[in-house]
Amino acid sequence: MSLYEQIGGDAAVNAAVDIFYRKVLKDARINRFFTGVDMDRQAAKQKSFLTMAFGGPNNYSGLDMRRGHAHLVAQGLNDSHFDAVVENLGATLKELGVADALIAQVAAIAETTRNDVLGK
């Protein structure tokens, strides 16, 4: 069984997306990167990100990640902000009762995007 299936697939993503996005918007360390944009589009983006991090189907390339975050890097997005997002991701899954071992796998997938997201 894949990681995505173990976590609960699309239903788990749907359950997680609002919880995760709410945590991010309440997190003073990073919420400035997420406000001032169309919330529906932003929620759809969060859903894409969570699907990818859960090991689900996606076609995101490193180039997409670079392009999509370049304007945020220009605003100062750095490792500490990336860490905060991963932390919120873990807390979201914890809240949904996902086992620690699976959360670690999700964090590891998210970690693979770090250099592209931060334009390194």
Binding site: D10, A44, K45, S48, N58, N59, Y60
Partner: protein, 330 residues
């Protein structure tokens, strides 16, 4: 093999091929990103034929109700006629039935289109002054209550080319042109017990007035609360009608809010969003409709979401403030 018709031309869709792949293979530029049914970048609208359920999974009910689907997830089983979501609606002629002042700045314009318009209360139409100048206005009318009459609320914007024309020159009996309805801010039946929050300022009452009556007439049973904000009592309108609706529907509450100066009895002092959140600090399970000044709408979206409302339950048309002019020209 199903055929996909786009802008009047039919394309054969290979077995197992998605609408997105079929059209892009023909050189048609359909925006897309994840291609796995998640990001909703490739939304299209089915104008004819029905799409498989999986192509609408995860979409807001308001989008499903209008035939929107994800082109990347749609392997059609039958012929489809499709359009991109921002394809401009067709123009149609309408005659002005009446123009009635609602307050010192806002008039209600009633229009009779040459043919019945397929719309939902809370969506907007485009009103043309001439070929170059047009603005979008939200519909306060309800299709099954007002029959073929459309009602919009037009606020006089200082220097506004269309609103000044409506206020200064347009008369009952005049012929005008409008374009088809659009927008995601409307009531969908299916969850009649869900509490509804309707929050607006100024002529943002127009869509809320339509959505309110649409929901009640479709048998909505859960609590419905309408907060209408204005700087002064003179800016409020339809207060008597709303009080009558409240008197005859115990589950509906009308809360007029005054943000500056003296506040008459029966009205609330302060900002409309603050008043609503003070009354309902926990918005979990609420469905929310927001209309009015774009800054207010954006702040309200954020605050009601943080207060627990699900993102799929928050309805607003962020780029086209109801009743107010939009900057771009068609």
């Amino acid at each position: 093999m199903p055929r996909i018709t786009y802008e009047g031309i039919g394309y054969a869709c290979d077995p197992g091929q998605t609408v997105l792949d079929c059209l892009t293979a023909q050189g048609i530029a359909v925006p897309s990103s994840c291609r796995t049914g998640v990001c909703q970048s490739c939304l299209m609208r089915a104008l004819g034929g029905s799409v498989p359920e999986v192509a609408q999974a995860g979409l807001k009910p308001t989008l499903v109700a209008q035939g929107y689907f994800k082109a990347c997830s749609c392997v059609p089983a039958e012929d489809l006629r499709v359009a991109l979501p921002d394809a401009a609606g067709l123009k149609l002629a309408a005659s002005v039935v009446s123009i009635e002042p609602l307050n010192p700045d806002i008039v209600a314009v009633r229009l009779r289109p040459e043919r019945p318009l397929d719309y939902r209360a809370g969506q907007f139409i485009r009103l043309y002054r001439d070929a170059q100048q047009s603005r979008c206005y939200s519909l306060a009318s309800v299709p099954h209550l007002e029959e073929d009459i459309l009602e919009i609320h037009v606020r006089q914007i200082p220097g506004g080319k269309v609103s000044s024309w409506v206020h200064g020159q347009l008369r009952a009996g005049d012929a005008v042109e409008i374009a088809d309805s659009a927008g995601q801010c409307f009531y969908v039946p299916g969850d009649p017990e869900q509490p509804l929050l309707l929050l607006g300022t100024g002529s943002g009452l127009a869509p809320l007035y339509g959505i309110l009556r649409d929901a009640l007439s479709q048998g909505h049973r859960g609590p419905v609360r309408l907060y209408h904000g204005s700087a002064s009592p003179a800016g409020l309108y339809r207060t008597e009608q709303l009080q009558v609706i409240a008197a005859t529907h115990p589950h509906f509450q009308y809360v007029p809010c005054i943000s500056a100066g003296a506040v008459p009895s029966g009205m609330r002092q302060g900002n409309v969003l603050e008043a609503a959140l003070a009354d309902q600090p926990d918005m979990t399970s609420w469905r929310v409709f927001l209309c009015g000044h774009p800054d207010m709408v954006q702040e309200a979206r954020l605050q009601v979401f943080l207060a627990g409302a699900a993102s799929a339950d928050i309805h607003a048309d962020p780029f086209i403030p109801s009743g107010a002019p939009i900057a771009h020209q068609p």
